[in-house]
């Protein structure tokens, strides 16, 4: 099999773009886990609903930029409402019920999507201004992917600065280490939970919008993206922000590069990496706690 060097470069680029989508998703998952100690099974649903909302906005107004700006606040709002109405009632109970609640939300959410949009997937066209490709010597990069990469890097850097440099970020970091201590210092932990959940859902919605033109939309994509996200946070290390970035990029690149040589294994490679990481370094590459 003749595989040109160029193809590998382009696939690595595609892998990085895909990886950045995973990064944005995994950041949300990991801060929720760090803060609230729960695995959010509805994370994939928020990704899906983000993509569908974007689809609606684009088909109504024809404006992709509007979707990009409007959808994350919408998903954040849904997240905040669900946290207030449903999740919050369960904080005092066994963690199992919180997990089950997010799982229930995901199931109902999928049914509502099916009810509203139907079971057939939708194709989502790349916005016109981002069609076409950039050429770099003999290499070519789709314009839309370059845009996604740039935006995702921007978001990630912003999130990093937010977590590391702001007061709210330091509360999140402290909460990941020791929740009781944070609340005993007089910080209103319930507001922090609310905002953390909302932020994570905004990120999930945003990644849904960004991924839609590349990967299409269907109501059943929530579970597969959820499985990948879980593998990414295990690879990177639970609760670690930089771990989420590293894990997401590694997963995306591995998936794309393996796709050249053995397409049918590209979905499985992430999980194989996950198993190797668990065996070699159980806490993940940059995990904060065991």
């Amino acid at each position: 099999m003749d595989i040109s060097f160029n193809l590998i470069i382009v696939q690595i680029f595609n892998g990085i773009v895909l990886g950045m989508i995973y990064v944005i998703l995994a950041m949300g998952l990991t801060i929720v886990w760090g803060m609230m100690d729960i695995i959010n099974f509805s994370h994939g649903f928020f990704y899906t609903i983000g993509a569908y909302f974007a689809y609606s906005v684009v088909s109504l107004t024809g404006n992709f930029w509007l979707a990009l700006v409007c959808v994350p606040p919408c998903t954040a709002l849904i997240g905040i409402c669900l946290e207030r109405l449903l999740l919050r009632k369960l904080y005092k109970t066994n963690i199992l019920y919180q997990i089950l609640m997010t799982f229930g939300i995901a199931l109902i959410g999928r049914e509502l999507i099916l009810l509203t949009y139907g079971p057939v997937g939708k194709s989502f066209y790349t916005p016109r201004i981002l069609e076409g490709t950039f050429f770099l010597g003999s290499l070519f990069f789709p314009r839309y992917r370059v845009f996604v990469l740039a935006l995702a890097v921007l978001i990630t850097v912003a999130m990093y600065l937010f977590i590391e440099k702001t007061k709210f970020g330091s509360i999140i970091r402290a909460g990941t280490e020791d929740k009781e201590m944070v609340s005993s210092l007089g910080i209103n932990i319930s507001i922090v939970f609310l905002l953390t959940f909302g932020l994570a859902m905004a990120l999930a919605g945003l990644s849904g919008v960004l991924a839609a033109p590349m990967r299409g939309i269907n109501p059943f994509m929530d579970v597969s993206i959820l499985g990948i996200c879980f593998a990414v946070v295990i690879i990177g290390g639970m609760g670690s922000f930089t771990g989420a970035i590293l894990g997401g990029l590694l997963a995306g690149i591995a998936q794309s590069v393996v796709g050249i040589f053995w397409p049918s294994a590209s979905a499985i490679i992430i999980f194989i990496m996950m198993i190797l990481i668990i065996l070699i370094r159980p806490r993940g590459l940059l995990g904060v706690r065991d």
Binding site: I39, L90, Y97, L100, A231, A265
Partner: protein, 319 residues
């Protein structure tokens, strides 16, 4: 004598219920489905209800067994018990492997791990078309005859006969799982559920106990899967998909965690309601989902919990 009767009243009730089930329901296939999912959900109840371990890879054991049983019938021309044995054995090995990873860490991390593994197994089954048939599934799993020591040979071509077989396996499994929960081993499991660190402090190697419970759960889920393949004559990718795990979890929660009878009630209810409702409205899972949320929020004992507290209340008011 009276005591024996009193102790086993639940089991007797179960035998009676499942004996009349095919007569009451509109067709026997429905009764088979109820029995198979009851078996699957009590297997899970041992793990969640008695050991306190949540998983999301029920479908992996269930589905893997449907494939192995199907393949052994198609390619090896296996007899009934061999086919079931192979399916169950494979599910057991798979459970041992996944359990090894899932018991490494506690809490929500282990839940997340089981979902990731379940997705991996789904993708393997999906991509490995030459073996599993991919999206088209594995067709032509003909039920072998029931042969007992070469003496007896019964064809299982009618649904009623097959129901008898499934019922036998279900009641046997129920009996075994019930015995496990009442044994000293089962008491340790409950101890782990209530307070794992304390069980550890007393000197129990909780990981081994959890792993054994995990494997037992996998074996019985495998049994359910093997029977399901023979029942459907077909093994499909949806059996290893997340949705199968999800419905087992819903039956468990709606029925009542850690009660064995509750989950069976949950299975009965979910199977029957979905049978009736799917004809009326394609989006009926929405109602099941809302019911599920209701139980998670307000009635964590499930239906069984509601029934027992009601009975308790009446008994008290009589006094």
């Amino acid at each position: 004598m009276k005591n024996i009767l009193k102790d086993n009243i639940g089991f007797i009730g179960l035998v009676i219920t499942f004996s009349v089930l095919p007569l009451v329901l509109s067709y026997e296939a429905l009764a088979i489905e109820v029995a198979i999912f009851s078996l699957a959900v009590i297997a899970f109840d041992l793990l969640l209800g008695y050991t306190g371990m949540m998983i999301f890879c029920q479908a992996s054991f269930f589905g893997a067994a449907t494939y192995v049983t199907g393949l052994s019938v198609i390619h090896l021309n296996a007899s009934l018990f061999t086919a079931i044995f192979l399916g169950v054995g494979f599910a057991g090995i798979l459970a041992l492997t996944l359990g090894f990873f899932a018991t490494m860490r506690k809490g929500s991390y282990s839940v997340l791990l089981t979902l990731a593994f379940s997705e991996m197994i789904f993708f393997i089954a999906y991509q490995w078309k030459s073996v599993t048939g991919g999206d088209d599934g594995l067709v032509g799993i003909v039920r072998p005859d029931l042969e007992i020591l070469g003496l007896l040979k019964i064809s299982l071509d009618t649904e009623l006969r097959f129901y008898m077989l499934v019922l036998f396996f279900f009641l046997l499994s129920f009996f075994i799982i019930k015995r496990i929960t009442e044994s000293p081993f089962g008491k340790v499991l409950v101890g782990i559920r209530e307070n794992e660190s304390r069980a550890e402090a007393i000197g129990y190697n909780t990981r081994i106990f959890k792993l054994i419970s995990f494997v037992i759960c996998g074996l019985f889920l495998g049994l359910a899967g093997s029977l399901y393949a023979l029942f459907m004559n077909f093994a499909h990718i949806s059996n290893v998909a997340f949705d199968t795990s999800a419905s087992i979890v819903m039956m468990e929660i709606i029925g009542g965690i850690g009660t064995l009878f509750g989950p069976i009630l949950g299975a009965l209810l979910v199977v029957l309601v979905s049978e009736k409702a799917s004809a009326l409205w394609a989006r009926w899972p929405l109602i099941i989902g809302l019911t599920f949320i209701f139980f998670v929020l307000f009635a964590r004992g499930g239906i069984w919990g509601l029934i027992t507290s009601y009975v308790e209340k009446r008994r008290k008011s009589k006094k």
